[in-house]
Amino acid sequence: MNYELLLQLVVNGLIVGTLYGVVAMCFVLIYKSTRVVNFAQGEFLLIGAWTCWWLLVKFELPFWFGFPLTLAFMVIFGIALQVIVLRPMIGEPIISVIMVTIGLSIFFKALMGLLFGNETKSYPKVFASDSIGVLGMQVQSAYILSMGISVLIMVAFYYFFKYSKIGLAMRATAFDQQVAQSLGISVKAVFAASWAISAVVSALAGIVIGMVNGVSSALSFFGIKVFPVVILGGLDSIVGSVVGGLIIGVLENVAEFADSQWLHIGNLYTIAPFYALVLILMVKPYGLFGTKDIERI
């Protein structure tokens, strides 16, 4: 058995896992406060990454300027999406809400394809060194950075929901919309804010991944990969999304390892999370940290 390879893959899994965790957090944020299952989460990554790439390459803006500009754009984009598309869907059956986000997903994916083409494009170099040694392993510096940023985002989320006024308002809205409204919280503002935050943070993740792997439509697959993560962690749990992200990240790399060493099935990296997903749904549908729906007659 090749322990060194296994260790390397586990470390890769943890790094990718933190990114899954971040995207899953964004997904959970929207689900928790607005009860919308966002199938277009992956497209947020895609749009953010392409916008940033466009600003940096076509307009040759410096990174410190282009990056905040992208985030500002994503704020507006998130709010606009919520107001124009999702607001009319309030109170509609769940199938309609799911379908509208699926519609958004294929629309934006195709739009990005139309604007930027099919090929993978890479970012201009932002950091000097390519890889650094950690514990005797070579790890790309961009990966370290992405992990750092992810952890930073997670800590920021924690403080945001614990102490900031809007964060508390969001939690109150997630708990009970009517009660929140009667306490003077603008539910509309909370909905818009949660979409904006989700869009911004997803875009951030998208840019980080884009720096490592280049930007292509493959980024939107993160939006699909997020489902095993959130189901494992629990659909409405922020902590769960982080834990789930790490577990799924490691799982797919270990599956890849097992595949290459013994099983030789092929493509297990992509498909293993979905087997896990079905298994979790059958055994423990509300995930590790999710709240169980209790129905009263």
Partner: protein, 354 residues
């Protein structure tokens, strides 16, 4: 029946259950429907090959979409993996024909039955979970089945795909669009008639009860698990037959065609047509088959001004699908079937529409 009753002119009361459950409200509508089918019989004699191929497309997609409507529109479960069933049916029919020498005539219904078994398997989670969770489970099944298609070379021919023979009866080969049209038409009429009758039976009403209020349904003695899983099996049966017809029409089946995007297209068909409407399913299918064609036409018209656009036709078609879904959900959530009823009601009461 819910929507229908509000569209009926006043004074039209139904005094028996039989009258309430009829497929055609008046004899005239029945004759019109029959006449329409008879007219369709003559289409291959006059229709251009292009029109004919579009109509065949509407046929096999329409059958699969009807299956999806049964599970989504009538039973209220969400399935995001319908195209995998469609693909399974196409492969199964080709496989039965190629490996066992079963004639295509029998292979198509058999493929439907095989797909139904897969559908029952995929539907098992439906016994335990519902709504959103079920949607995600079917999403997983879509990817797992897609992966299976790529891997199971003995079944699908792997990456090179599978050949599918033409439909033959007593040595007569239905290898042209003109002749194959009748095969598809036969199945469309069969499946749509079957469904119209199914939803009137005890089982059909049980499905609707599960959708409308599953707790009440359970209290009234409807076995929830059985009906949820069965609705998946049934929907897979339709998808399998639709897929088999698709395979034997093209003569070749490859795994790439059955991705999640086709599943979304099926969902778009029933949402645009109208959830829980049999007639609407057909309207939605026609809409979704024509939409890419219209886009192609539109791009062709402006290609003089913007020649680059022609290369991105695939993207434009996908954007149109996404946009159609969004716009219909916002502006016409009850679909084309509802719009059709409104138009009929308008003309019935014209010029005093209120």
């Amino acid at each position: 029946m819910g929507l229908g009753s509000s569209m009926r002119p006043c004074g039209d009361y139904r005094t028996t259950y039989a009258a309430d459950m009829t497929i055609f409200a008046t004899p005239v509508t029945r004759y019109v429907a029959l006449a329409f089918i008879v007219c369709l019989l003559f289409v291959p004699l006059f229709g251009s090959p292009y029109v004919l191929s579009l109509m065949i497309q509407v046929g096999y997609y329409g059958i699969a979409a009807l299956g999806l409507n049964l599970v989504v529109g009538f039973t209220g479960q969400i399935s995001l993996g319908h195209s995998a069933f469609f693909g399974f049916g196409a492969f199964a029919s080709a496989w039965l024909n190629n490996s066992f020498g079963i004639p295509v005539f029998f292979a198509i219904p058999l493929a439907g039955v095989l797909t139904m078994l897969v559908g029952l398997l995929v539907g098992i989670p439906a016994g335990r979970i519902k709504g959103l969770y079920l949607a995600i489970a079917t999403l997983a099944s879509q990817f797992i089945l897609e992966d299976f298609f790529a891997r199971a070379g003995w079944f699908t021919g792997g990456s090179s795909g599978a050949m599918a023979e033409y439909f033959t009866i007593f040595g007569y080969s239905f290898d042209t669009d003109q002749s194959y049209f009748y095969v598809v038409l036969f199945y469309v009429v069969l499946m749509y008639t079957f469904t119209s009758n199914l939803v009137r039976t005890r089982d059909g009403r049980a499905l609707i009860a599960v959708r409308d209020h599953y707790l009440s349904a359970e209290i009234m003695g409807v076995n929830l698990t059985w009906y949820r899983v069965m609705s998946f099996g049934l929907s897979a049966l339709y998808a399998g037959i639709g897929g088999a017809l698709f395979g034997h029409y093209l003569g070749f089946v490859s795994a790439e065609g059955f991705s999640i995007i086709l599943s979304i297209q099926f969902l778009a068909m029933i949402i645009i047509g109208g959830l829980g409407s049999i007639f609407g399913t057909l309207l939605g299918t026609i809409f979704m088959v024509l939409l890419p064609e219209v886009m192609e036409l539109g791009v062709g018209l402006v290609s003089g001004v913007m020649p680059d656009l022609a290369q991105s036709l695939a993207f434009i078609k996908e954007m149109a699908i996404g946009l159609a879904i969004i716009l219909f959900l916002i502006f016409e959530p009850e679909g084309l079937a509802h719009r059709w009823k409104r138009i009929k009601a308008y003309w019935k009461l014209y010029p005093f529409s209120y």
